[in-house]
Assembly symmetry: C2
Homo-oligomer: 411 residues x 2
């Protein structure tokens, strides 16, 4: 286990001990950050030691994680998602080099498995009977899948209006789903009430500081996989803000322990219809104003981000920026990314590369710069959106002349 | 590259040279098998050499593959799918030990990526302009995705009645899709006509002997990942029969070069509604009779298997068996597998474990035996089927008393 030295509240600065309280700051209710003994991590995580470690899961970064590597963890292979170098995507987006990290290949098909990995391990270590979450999205699917892998009961609270397909996935993994006759905000608050009442382990990254620690592993991997060949930018789509904050923290830790010699600039990409963080960033603010969220990229359709402080600080600390991508641009990138790389991403996942195109057009990213985009969710999670982005050809009779005609017409 | 010594027709026995003809036997039109210099492979693929090889793709088995490792291949991370040991699934199915190999984690979400890996590499080496396939299923999606990753044009022939969602995935990857006004059999035949006319590279495992060579890598991996801890049985769902034939060949090769000391028995599982191979196997026949196929497990809804010889011989050579699983049993195993392992499989993928249950009931597999099931496709490919296998709970108002009531009722 990484030696957690202490935690610190991002709101009031209160310092606290790693005493098994996995919730918010007890002084002010703010979100806390977790600190480690970096000297110990520096000794353990050398380039040679990492190269010699056959474990491909996120546990290879145990010296920087708040879990005991000897304790019980999910057996699912969370970690070491591949990075692809794509000259054609680089040309399509207008940058010097484009790398794609495919987190859609993780066990439940999304980046969120990184957070659930740590959440489930901590819940097991704490002897929790149940892990609870309020979500219909990737976080819920992820904790349901990882919970199933270790036999840990998972309770999910969702609005009764949630799409049946998403509820079906949760039920397939055996999660107990509470369909609540309320909107998402009220359902979320009700879940917190239930957690308090029944003593369940809380998988909300807005409350539980350890979930972002799992997300860090994306940054750890980028550092280890690229070493001296880091990109100028790392681009990620942003909803609540925990994922970009976590990835940046992972990169910053790897810099702090000397594995890499700099930290890339972070490009936070919001859908134009749900962009409170871009607005706050551009205004130099530390907090966000709630907006009515309206984007088809459902995983980032967030009007009131739950982790604005971490999300804004991470991008500022990196010297990066926030940009917005319109739904039209996002939609167009579903097939464009797949055709240029072979990686099929869900709408929120391709939002990252749509934002790179936006940043290039705005002069934020130069035409010779290099960019890594994190594809945060598998396109199979939302085939309907992909369908809306492609044109289905007209049927033809089985005649070779018809094939020839089409080949000539499209030549 | 593996040194291919020769090919041999399974129908007429004609021996042929590895001369760049990637089609059927020129003497009789039968499917051919590919043979290698196993002495060279034995020297290259030792336990130590494999352990020291950092390449996690199927290219680590290059000495047994018909492709040049220095040549162009897809950059997508095809290979090293994880194997999970699941005591709860073992108890649920009634065997001593149950292992799950999750091929749903491969880049396009199915086992078929193994065959497409080799197909695309050989097409590139041959300087092909186009790869063609007739399918709406995982084979088509796979070659479309891997083709996109290297910029190789892919032409797919599908019946005009194909489900729009599957066509959309092909179009997302940029495949040129020909919707043919004909049924599947006629569409398949028309695709062969077009291949002959236009000189495209043929991705049909019934014609091209090299695709099964890619499928072998599943067997190579099982051997390498388990070594002296092999299961008694390897269970796979069977449609055309190429996948089980390939996996068995991979295991047999690893046995022949001394990496493992025996070959597990193969359990071929067909859906009861599409089981011509089980019928032929039980009758001791070498060929199959066409039947009207009718199972909801669409990836194995095959009435006339295209590779019966390889499929029957492989299972017989291993001392294994064919069994059938009913659609009801298959459907029930979608949530049962997910809940016991955290692995969400499509219907055809969970057919393998449904068949293990069947084989235990029939006394074919003993209660103390160990079994590895290959989960051949990601459950996200068919969420609708998962929906039909679970019960959606009734909505409740946001009151803690309602949560308590349900917890008590379900305790």
């Amino acid at each position: 286990m990484g030696t957690v030295t202490h935690l610190e509240c991002l709101a009031c600065g209160a310092r606290s001990e790693p005493d098994g309280h996995d919730g918010a700051c007890v002084v002010c209710g703010g979100i806390r950050d977790v600190f480690y003994d970096l000297d110990a991590a520096r000794e353990a995580l050398t380039r040679d030691a990492l190269a010699a470690n056959p474990d491909r899961t996120v546990l290879r970064y145990a010296p920087l994680l708040p879990i005991d590597p000897e304790g019980r963890v999910t057996p699912l292979a969370v970690g070491s998602s591949p990075i692809y170098d794509s000259p054609r995507a680089a040309a399509a987006v207008g940058v010097g080099r484009l790398l794609v990290k495919d987190d859609g290949s993780l066990p439940t098909g999304s980046f969120k498995d990184r957070a659930s990995y740590v959440g489930v391990a901590r819940a097991l270590a704490a002897g929790a009977d149940v892990v609870a979450a309020a979500s219909t999205g990737n976080a819920a699917t992820s904790v349901a899948g990882l919970g199933a892998s270790v036999g840990l009961p998972i309770h999910i609270f969702v609005p009764a209006t949630a799409p049946e397909g998403k509820v079906a996935q949760l039920l397939t993994y055996g999660a107990r789903v509470f369909l609540i006759e309320a909107d998402y905000d009220a359902t979320y608050d009700f879940c917190q009430e239930a957690v308090a009442k029944f003593g369940w382990y809380n998988r909300s990254a807005a409350v539980n500081p350890y979930l972002v620690e799992g997300k860090k592993t994306c940054g750890h991997e980028i550092a280890e996989q690229l070493l001296d060949d880091l990109p100028d930018w790392v681009a990620m789509s942003v909803g609540d803000g925990c994922s970009i904050a976590g990835t940046h923290k992972g990169l910053a830790e790897m810099h702090a322990i000397g594995l890499i010699d700099r930290v890339p600039k972070m490009l936070g990409v919001q859908a134009a219809g749900a962009a409170p963080l871009t607005k706050a960033f551009d205004a130099g603010a530390e907090s966000v104003e709630r907006m009515v969220a309206n984007t088809f990229a459902d995983s980032i359709n967030v009007g009131m981000p739950r982790n604005p402080t971490k999300a804004l600080r991470a991008v500022r600390a990196s010297g990066g920026r926030y940009v917005n991508a319109t739904d039209d641009r996002i939609r167009a990138w579903i097939p464009k990314l797949a055709r240029n790389t072979g990686v099929f991403g869900e709408p929120a996942a391709v939002t990252a590369i749509a934002g790179v195109e936006e940043a290039v057009a705005a002069g934020i990213i130069g035409p010779d710069e290099s960019v890594l985009v994190v594809v945060s969710g598998n396109g199979l999670k939302d085939v309907r959106s992909a369908m809306s982005a492609v044109d289905v050809p007209k049927p033809i009779p089985p005649k070779l002349s018809e094939v020839e005609r089409r080949l000539e017409a499209e030549a």
